[in-house]
Amino acid sequence: MPGETEWAIVLLSLRVALVAILVALPFAFVFAWILARFSFWGKSLLQALITMPLVIPPVVTGYLLLVWFGARGMLGGLFNDVFGLTFSFRWTGAALAAGVMAFPLLVRPMRLSIESLDRGLEEAARSLGAGRIVVFLTVTLPLLLPGILAGAVLGFAKALGEFGATITFVSNIPGETQTLSLAIYSLLQSPNGDVAALRLILVSVVISIVAVVASEWLQRRLSGGRT
C-alpha cells in the first residue's frame, strides 16, 4: 500500500491538475469559440500561438514561464502585487505550467465541437423567442458539453503528467511542486527507489484510466444516446 508521503504526492498532483484545468477551461472555451465562429485578420497567428506549448520543447516553455512569471518577471510581479499570488517554486506555479501545457489540448476538442454544432438549432431557438444569451445557455452549451468534457479530460491527463515545463519553472520540491511525474523521476534516480517508483507508476496509470472511463460514461450520459 502507498504510504503517507505517497498519498501526499498523489493529492498534490490531483490538486495541481484540477486547479490548472478549472482555471484554464473558461479561457480555452473563449479561444475555441473565437477560432470556431469568427474569421479575422491574424486568426492563423492566434491559432499558432495557442498550439505553441504543444510543439516547442517543454523545457523552453518552462524557461519562458520562469522569465515572465518568476519573482522578478513582469507578469509574476504583477500577479504578486495585484492578487498576492506567487508562482515561483510554489504549487501554484506547477498548476500554471500544467495549465499552459494543457491549453492547446483543451482548445482543440472544444473548437471542433463548436464547429460541428448545427447553427440551425440556434436559429430555430431564436425564432421561438429566446435571445442570444438564453439560446447559448439552453441550446448551445448543453450540446457542447461532451466536447468540453473531452477537452477537459485530455487536458487533465496532460496536466497530470506534465514534467519538463514544471521542473524548469518551479523545480522539484517535495511537498510543494513535486507532482507524480517528478516524484517518479526522483525515485528512479535514487538507489533502491524502484519499488516506490513502481507504486507511483501504478497509481498514475489507475488515475488516467479512471479519468478516461469516467469521461466516456459522462459523455454517453450527456449525449443521451444521440451518438
Partner: protein
C-alpha cells in the same frame, strides 16, 4: 380576406439578388418556385435571419423591418414561427421540452393551449420521447407544434414535407389542412411540390430568379405553375348531391354540374378540384354515348403552343378557368381558335380534390 403580411424587400445573399414585393392574407400563401428561385432567402429575410438591403416587412401594423426608419427587429422579437425543412428539434431535450421551449426559454405567452396543439398534431404518445427516436414525419409534426406554441403572428414553413417520402407526406398533409382551417393563422408555405400547393394554398406567390412574377388567388395563378406533366388548374365547386350506390359526388361549378368519383362530402361543402391539363379533352359537338361524365360547355380564351407535339388551351367554364392539353395535330384538325365555343370533357375518375373551408 384582408392582407396580413406585407413584404417589399431588396437584398442579396452571396451573389444572388432577391427583389420581391407581395402581400399575403389570412390563410395559406404558397411561395412557389424552382429551387434557387430565392424562396428560402425570402423566408430568412422575413424571419430576421438575413437583413435585406432595403425595403419594408410588416405584419398588420407591426413593423419588423423598415430600412427607411432603421428598424430591424431581432428574430426573437418578431413572433414568427419557423418550420424548417429539417425540423431542427433540440436533440438534448424531450419532445415535451421541445414543444414548450418558447414558453420556458422564449417567455412567450400562451396562444394555443399545449393540449390543443398536442391533440391537433397527434403527439400524445410522443411527449416523453427523445427526438432521435422519432420518425421523419413525427419529427416534422413536433417541429410544427413547437412553432405553433410560440404564439406566432405568422407561420413560415420552408418545404416542411420535402425530406419525407410519399406516404409520410400523406400522413402530414391532413394535419396541415386542419391547422389551416382551425387556427386561422396566416401561413407562408414554401414549396416546389405542385400537389401540396394545390391542396393547401389559398393564395400563390410565384417566384422566379429572385423576383415575384405573379401573385394572387390560388385558382387564378395555379394554371401557370408546375412542370409540363403536372400542369393543370384549380376550380372550386359546391357539393349538391351524393350517389352512394355508384360512389359519385355531384358538384355545382359556376352553374354547371360536375361529378367526381369520390364520396364523403356533405351537401353544401365547398370543394376544390385539381384538374390536370392532360385529363381534359375537347369536342366540337356534344358527344353521344361516351363514358366521360363531365361534358362542359367552354370558351377558348387562349391557345398556347409552339413547335412541340402538343398545345395548351385555356378554357372558361362558367367563370372558372381550366386548361386542356391537346396534340397540336388535334387542335389543327378541329381548327380551334381563340374565342370559340367548344365542349370540355373531363373524366370523373381523373380528378384530385382538396377540401376547402366551407
Amino acid at each position: 380576406m384582408s392582407d396580413t403580411l406585407f413584404v417589399s424587400v431588396e437584398g442579396q445573399v452571396g451573389s444572388f439578388p432577391v427583389t420581391a414585393a407581395f402581400t399575403a392574407g389570412g390563410g395559406v400563401t404558397a411561395l412557389f418556385g424552382e429551387s434557387g428561385a430565392g424562396k428560402t432567402t425570402l423566408l430568412k429575410m422575413i424571419a430576421g435571419v438575413t437583413r435585406p438591403a432595403k425595403g419594408r416587412i410588416a405584419i398588420r401594423d407591426h413593423v419588423l423591418f423598415d430600412s427607411a426608419r432603421g428598424i430591424h427587429l431581432a428574430p426573437e422579437q418578431r413572433r414568427i414561427g419557423y418550420v424548417f425543412q429539417d425540423a431542427r428539434l433540440f436533440p438534448h431535450l424531450s419532445v415535451r421540452n421541445n414543444l414548450t421551449y418558447a414558453r420556458w426559454a422564449g417567455r412567450r405567452s400562451e396562444g394555443l393551449s399545449y393540449d390543443r396543439v398536442v391533440a391537433l398534431l397527434g403527439l400524445e404518445h410522443l411527449q416523453q420521447r427523445a427526438p432521435a427516436l422519432l420518425s421523419g414525419g413525427e419529427r416534422q409534426r413536433v417541429a410544427i407544434g413547437r412553432a405553433l406554441l410560440s404564439n406566432p403572428a405568422l407561420l413560415l414553413m420552408d418545404e416542411p414535407l420535402s425530406s419525407l417520402d410519399h406516404s409520410r407526406r400523406q400522413e402530414i398533409l391532413p394535419f396541415l389542412e386542419t391547422l389551416r382551417d382551425e387556427t386561422g393563422l396566416p401561413i407562408l408555405y414554401v414549396s416546389h411540390e405542385i400537389d401540396e400547393v394545390a391542396r393547401l394554398a389559398d393564395e400563390i406567390v410565384l417566384l422566379q430568379g429572385g423576383r415575384v412574377t405573379a401573385s394572387g388567388p390560388a385558382e387564378a395563378i395555379f394554371s401557370r405553375l408546375g412542370s409540363h406533366d403536372d400542369a393543370g388548374a384549380l376550380v372550386t365547386g359546391v357539393v349538391t348531391a351524393s350517389d352512394e350506390a355508384f360512389g359519385l359526388t355531384s358538384l355545382d361549378i359556376g352553374g354547371q354540374p360536375f361529378q367526381i368519383a369520390r364520396l364523403g362530402f356533405a351537401a353544401g361543402t365547398k370543394l376544390r378540384l385539381r384538374i390536370r391539363a392532360r385529363d381534359v379533352s375537347i369536342a366540337r359537338a356534344l358527344p353521344q354515348a361516351i363514358s366521360v361524365r363531365n361534358i362542359l360547355p367552354a370558351k377558348i380564351t387562349a391557345i398556347a403552343g409552339n413547335d412541340g407535339p402538343d398545345c395548351d388551351l385555356t378554357l372558361d367554364i362558367g367563370g372558372q378557368t381550366i386548361v386542356a392539353r391537346l396534340t397540336r395535330k388535334s387542335a389543327s384538325e378541329l381548327a380551334l381558335k381563340q374565342g370559340e365555343a367548344v365542349f370540355a370533357l373531363v373524366k370523373a375518375a381523373s380528378v384530385d380534390r382538396g377540401v376547402l373551408r366551407g
